[in-house]
């Protein structure tokens, strides 16, 4: 009898054991679903973000098609409003932030000499919640009726959702609910990641790696993570306030009961301004890694670049109302925020000058990563300078809500962040995939993207200054807008072409037979000391760090004139001393509970919109996920 009982469940147990073994040995789709490996999570973030990039890009092309000519009829006003709302929301929350997160994930443990992040399952949770939030928000497209007849249900109140427009009275339907709840879900993802990286960076550095021996990218990860964990709660509260107004008749933004719409704006921009630095600092970190490698010189003024990043983070809390100059805050507030905004240009300038000085006197290899990094500097300089023009409050009264502003933020978010992120993609691609992207296609992508970008967005500066407001579905002829809009649309399709080139590059390079070396670029930081792709346990032996750019110093000593001289015995061979293939290194076990917990969130959100019973289901799923997570063994 006892034996029979033992034998019956053993088939299931055996299957589960096999699944766990597969997952732990990185085989099959189950191993991806249950992974807690930061490298795999990073890849998932990156692939998902790039998919959303294509989606957001299609939305952009639709916008540009509609605006290519006066009185365009490609989209109805309703469709246009939904598409521009989703374009902005997608690009910010589903593309730039997750792409940055991809790099945080891929690089942080490697750069600090750790085996993984502090909380691997929390890390997986962050990714699954991001995916859930992105899918949830985009599901709203289908709630407006027959999508094949162009009836869209997506949110339509702008990515910035100003009240009272977002209240039920003015935005009936579920679109704005999907937007608010979707952002709440995404906020959970960001915060979890933020906590994880702060703890990882503060607590898990290899012996000898003091804070000022960390690569600059790790510094930017740390600073960005702090910004995330402090800024997200503010938008969280604002979104809850909006939802309570919409779903339960609260009065946060109800003017009739004494509320003020400005409360929304203050909360949103208190979050929103640190948010734009969350968007740009990681890309700045990438540029700060790429330039030294491709110039074969250290980052010029490393401590100053670190401090300017910290300064920007602090100052970003004091400028939010520069998004509100035209709301009539009064001369005192306008002057104060005008001055604080003018001042934030200073640490930004410091970074740009230090990057240029890094290139100066170097031995520059003009490869795709370098092109994108230099492109970043060029484009961000323009964006930053236009930012200075906005800070001049009375001029901003003309610029605000026009295409001049649209030009500015695309300059810094596309010409800046996206270019920086592509620099990172080309730079670190071999490290994580074991294959090099084709250099020729890379250069083609860069130049078409660079030209396309400029052809699209420089005319928008003119458009804004000759009086074209933003967020309009069409414009009449005779305003002088026609030619520039047409040019911009052409540029947009050139950008689309460049993205196609990128996709082709990825596909083609996956078929290459040659494997990438460990250190194809002659890098300076620890990840280049590891094989490509990196084994699951990262380092066979946790390194002891002696200096900033420790790996470089393992490869090169300096002669009396400060010129580097290759070290004879080749430091990167050190890892040959055998510890077998990493046997005996205990890595965190895979787990499916983060995925389960993550699934609970969009279910709860759906229930809040449609049916309270569904909320209970979602809550139950969440609880199962959390309890399973808490009670399972962390390492086997």
């Amino acid at each position: 009898m006892a034996r029979a009982i033992e034998e019956r469940p053993s088939a299931i147990l055996e299957a589960m054991r096999q699944l766990r073994e597969d997952a732990a040995s990185y085989r099959g789709i189950w191993s991806w679903i249950t992974t807690v490996d930061h490298k795999r999570i990073g890849i998932m973030y990156g692939v998902t973000a790039l998919a959303f990039f294509v989606l957001g890009g299609i939305e952009a092309l639709l916008i540009r098609l509609q605006l290519a000519t006066p009185n365009g009829e490609v989209l109805t006003p309703d469709q246009y409003n939904r598409i521009f709302t989703m374009h902005g929301t997608t690009m910010i929350f589903l593309v730039v932030m997750p792409l940055s997160a991809a790099f945080f994930n891929l690089l942080t443990p490697l750069m600090i000499g750790a085996r993984d992040v502090a909380f691997p399952r929390l890390n997986a949770f962050s990714y699954w919640v991001f995916l859930a939030g992105g899918l949830f928000m985009n599901a709203s497209f289908f709630t407006g009726g027959n999508i094949l007849q162009g009836e869209l249900g997506a949110p339509d109140a702008g990515w910035f959702g100003y009240a009272p427009l977002t209240l039920s009275r003015f935005s009936p339907g579920e679109g704005v609910d999907f937007w608010a709840l979707g952002l709440l879900i995404l906020g959970v993802s960001s915060m979890a990641a933020g906590f994880n990286f702060i703890v990882t960076i503060l607590n898990m550095r290899a012996p000898g790696m003091t804070l000022f021996r960390m690569p600059l990218f790790v510094w930017m990860t740390l600073v960005t993570s702090f910004l995330i964990v402090f800024a997200m709660p503010v938008i969280t509260v604002a979104l809850f306030q909006l939802l309570f107004d919409r779903l339960y008749d609260a009065n946060f933004f109800n003017v009739d009961k004494g509320g003020t719409p400005l409360l929304w704006q203050h909360m949103f921009w208190l979050f929103g301004h640190p948010e734009v630095y969350i968007l740009i600092l990681p890309a700045m970190g990438i540029v700060s890694e790429v330039l030294p490698t491709f110039a074969r010189k250290p980052l010029f003024g490393y401590p100053f670049v670190v401090f300017s990043g910290i300064a920007i983070a602090f100052m970003s809390w004091g400028v939010w109302a520069h998004h509100m100059y035209t709301t009539g805050l009064g001369a005192v507030a306008n002057s104060a925020f005008g001055v604080s905004t003018i001042l934030i240009a200073i640490p930004t300038g410091v970074k740009i000058f230090n990057w240029m000085a890094t290139l100066w006197g170097g031995s520059i290899s003009i490869k795709t990563p370098l092109l994108f990094a230099a492109g970043f500097i060029a484009m961000f300089t323009i964006g930053g300078l236009t930012g200075v023009t906005h800070s001049v409050v009375p001029s901003d009264y003309q610029q605000q809500d026009t295409y001049y502003i649209v030009a500015h933020f695309h300059q810094v978010l596309f010409g800046g962040a996206i270019f920086g992120l592509f620099a990172g993609i080309y730079y670190w691609y071999p490290k994580f995939t074991g294959k090099m992207l084709y250099e020729g296609l890379g250069q083609l992508q860069f130049w078409t993207m660079f030209i396309g970008f400029n052809v699209t967005f420089q005319p928008m500066m003119i458009l804004g200054l000759i009086g074209m407001p933003r967020r309009i579905y069409s414009y009449p002829g005779g305003q002088g807008f026609d030619i520039w809009n047409l040019v911009a649309t052409v540029g947009a399709f050139l950008i689309a072409f460049s993205v196609l080139v990128f996709i082709i590059n990825v596909i083609a390079s996956s078929r290459r037979k040659e494997k990438a070396e460990a250190d194809p670029w002659d890098g300076r930081t620890l990840e280049w000391s590891l094989p490509s792709p990196v084994p699951p346990y990262n380092f066979k032996e946790i390194p002891t760090v002696h200096a900033l750019d420790d790996f470089w110093h393992q490869k090169y000593a300096e002669d009396e004139r400060g010129r580097p001289v290759p070290v004879v015995a080749g430091g990167s061979e050190e890892e040959e001393e055998e510890h077998g293939d990493g046997h005996g290194i205990h890595m965190p076990s895979p787990s499916f509970f983060p995925l389960i917990a993550a699934t609970g969130l969009p279910i709860i959100a759906t229930g809040l919109i449609y049916d309270p019973a569904i909320v209970a289901v979602g809550a139950a799923v969440l609880m199962v996920g959390i309890y399973g997570w808490a009670l399972e063994p962390a390492t086997e």
Binding site: F119, R205, Y248, F252, G258, M267
Partner: protein, 194 residues
Amino acid sequence: MQHAPALATNTGLDNRKLLMWLFLASECLFFGSLIGAYLLYRDRSVAGPYPEDLFDIPFTSVSAFILLMSSVTMVLALAAIQRGDQHGLRVWLFTTAFLGILFVSGQAFEFTEFNREGLSLSTNLFGTTFFVLTGFHGAHVTVGVLILMSLFVMALRGRLTRAESLHVELAGLYWHFVDIVWIVIFTLVYLIQP
């Protein structure tokens, strides 16, 4: 609950403890925003009922005191597990959770009273900001109670030994934070009337 052996960390702080502190720091921004909205809208309700019509300070003082005492019992629970006193641990964990439930019940009673007297989420600015602020706080207390009860059940099963005292410490940090937030809310919302 098994856990990985604590690794040496650069700061000397256990990863999980650092995480809890960071989380509580972010919660400061969360509650700060809610309290800010309350203070901004104080005295701007176009119609009543108003705070002075509804507040029963003696009643709320008692429930505040109960929550305060629960922080004391929380400390006692931590002290118990740290010296290996399993019985004490169970008693004080349970008491803390129980006091938390008492507090939340007091909140529920207070809310129903206010509701009966005409205050709801949609009545006026006071109703909106008050219920959302104290509601979120109550939700945090409830989550805390769930955590404490889970720890209690673990303790009953003998799975919460001195080696796992960090769990109780972390629960304690969270619990004390929620208590401190209530002290701030009680002072700003109930006690200080302009």
